[in-house]
């Protein structure tokens, strides 16, 4: 098998795993949410979600019909073979699994039928983490992606401004991003990098807080506040609006404070693989760190 074929095989398996099974940490988060809810309407939503996840896994079919747009994070190699392997993998997975063809031209709205198009799949290349190539796949549905918010705050707004931004984003999203959701927040950087940080944040497994103690504290406080809004599962009311708030930060201009919010629905699908120099491949849905 040549390099591009190995990547293609890996990508098809990553995509199948991601859309048919939820990572353990997300499943545990949903069960915990069910324990916390007392209102029958909220409990029905969570029970239906958990039942749906189990049915999808045992039938090996996508848990949600919106199998999203394909987003990849690749570290360790940026090459024609990677690009080709991902493209072919996405086209094949779309047909074989099958996935819903979601990718369209933004103006004509013409659907390519393959989930491949200009700039799609969306591939982010990162620095190598070791002697392996790591590929993470995350499908992103429109229900949650359409709720994204970017605010370029006045630096004096500080943590208060950051909290307001996140609360406003989650409240105005209401039931639309299929809560209980995972809320990714990117703080700092530039307008574009803040949003990418927010997107990377939602890949981090639930229960793993930021290494920075101040950021970890902010994550905890925000989670508590969002769950106190009462939006609840599917926006029908309840105590569990979010399963977790994940924050990533970067340094920024002394005159800026970019804050980006990227929400992920309960169907927080993701899967990672590492391809080693001897072509061995290891798969994980909870990430490797």
């Amino acid at each position: 098998m040549d390099r591009a074929e190995l990547v293609e095989e890996t990508v098809v398996r990553l995509m199948r795993t991601a859309v048919t099974t939820l990572p353990e940490d997300v499943i545990a988060g949903l069960h915990k949410a069910l324990q916390l809810e007392t209102e029958e309407v909220a409990r029905v939503q969570l029970r239906t979600i958990i039942d749906n996840v189990e049915k999808a896994e045992s039938a090996d079919v996508p848990m949600c019909q919106d199998t999203g747009v394909p987003i990849f994070f690749v570290s360790g190699e940026c090459s024609h073979e990677i690009e080709e392997g991902i493209m072919n993998g996405v086209a094949r997975a779309t047909k074989e699994i099958p996935l819903r063809p979601n990718v369209v031209d933004p103006i004509s709205r013409h659907n390519t039928g393959t989930n491949i198009g200009a700039g799609m799949p969306n591939i982010h290349y990162e620095q190598a983490k070791g002697d392996f190539v790591e590929i993470t796949f995350m499908p992103k549905g429109a229900g949650s992606e359409n709720m994204s918010v970017l605010r370029m705050l006045n630096p004096t707004s500080g943590t208060k401004g950051i909290k307001e931004t996140v609360i406003d984003a989650v409240v105005s999203a209401g039931g639309r991003p299929c809560p209980p959701s995972i809320v990714g927040v990117g703080i700092g950087g530039t307008a574009d990098s803040a949003m990418l940080l927010a997107k990377k944040a939602i890949i981090r497994p639930l229960g793993r807080s930021s290494d920075d103690p101040d950021v970890a504290k902010l994550e905890r406080e925000l989670k508590e506040m969002l769950n106190a809004t009462g939006i609840g599962p599917m926006g029908l009311g309840g105590r569990t609006t979010t399963l977790g708030v994940m924050i990533e930060k970067a340094d920024c201009h002394t005159a800026s404070l970019p804050v980006a919010v990227n929400i992920q629905c309960w169907a927080a699908r993701r899967a990672s693989a590492r391809i080693y120099p001897d072509d061995r491949v290891r798969f994980r849905t909870e990430g490797f760190q």
Binding site: N111, G175, R176, C178, A228, G235, G237, A267
Partner: protein
């Protein structure tokens, strides 16, 4: 409550926000593009290739697989209904469906149309596509496939699709508005504490 299409005015007017239900019978998927095309045709006086009167409209873009001569639904959860907010009041007035299934709720125009024309909004758990597919017995047909798989109108045979919750009733009440009022009060308190 087990609802079966065709539904009568009386059937839906007896439902109240918070009631649990399942839906059986004929339903039609319709998202933004289908809503727009249906309205355009109707405004020009052209008939639709399907009849929505007393039926259910499902805000859904399913994954459907070719199955011999027919089709098989693989996954079919609801899509975000608010995208149809601007189109739904006129849609209800022109085509007179009795139920709309979706997620996330709809705005005042639709709530008003539901009251006026006797229609309810049934909330189905977003993303619960496999549970939904179990409540779909078959595909009776497809219209406007040129819009693409998600946007086409799929004519579905439902068999206890659910669990559904009546989230907008014919009395002008919306569960989302009720929750929204509580959320606003909570958020005001939260922000004051910042």
């Amino acid at each position: 409550m087990r609802l079966v299409t065709p539904l009568s005015d009386k059937d839906v007017r007896s439902l109240r926000v918070g009631d649990g239900a399942t839906l059986s019978g004929r339903a039609f998927t319709a998202r933004d593009e289908a809503h727009m095309r249906a309205l355009d045709m109707s405004r020009r006086g052209e008939p639709l290739p399907f009849e929505l009167k007393d039926m259910a409209v499902y805000h859904c873009g399913p994954i459907v697989e070719k199955d011999g001569e027919g089709w098989k639904v693989v996954a079919a959860g609801p899509t975000t209904s608010s995208r149809m907010n601007d189109l739904e009041p006129e849609f209800i007035e022109r085509f007179r469906p009795r139920a709309i299934i979706g997620k996330g709720g709809m705005s005042a125009g639709t709530i008003g149309a539901c009251k006026r024309f006797g229609c309810v909004y049934l909330a189905f758990t977003g993303g619960a596509a496999v549970v939904a597919a179990k409540g779909i017995r078959g595909v009776a047909g497809v219209h406007w496939l040129d819009l693409g798989m998600p946007e086409a109108v799929w004519e579905l045979e439902l068999d206890d699709l659910g669990p559904l919750i009546v989230a907008i009733d014919t009395e002008g009440r919306s569960m989302y508005d009720d929750v929204g009022k509580r959320v606003d009060a909570n958020v005001k308190r939260l922000k004051e504490s910042l």
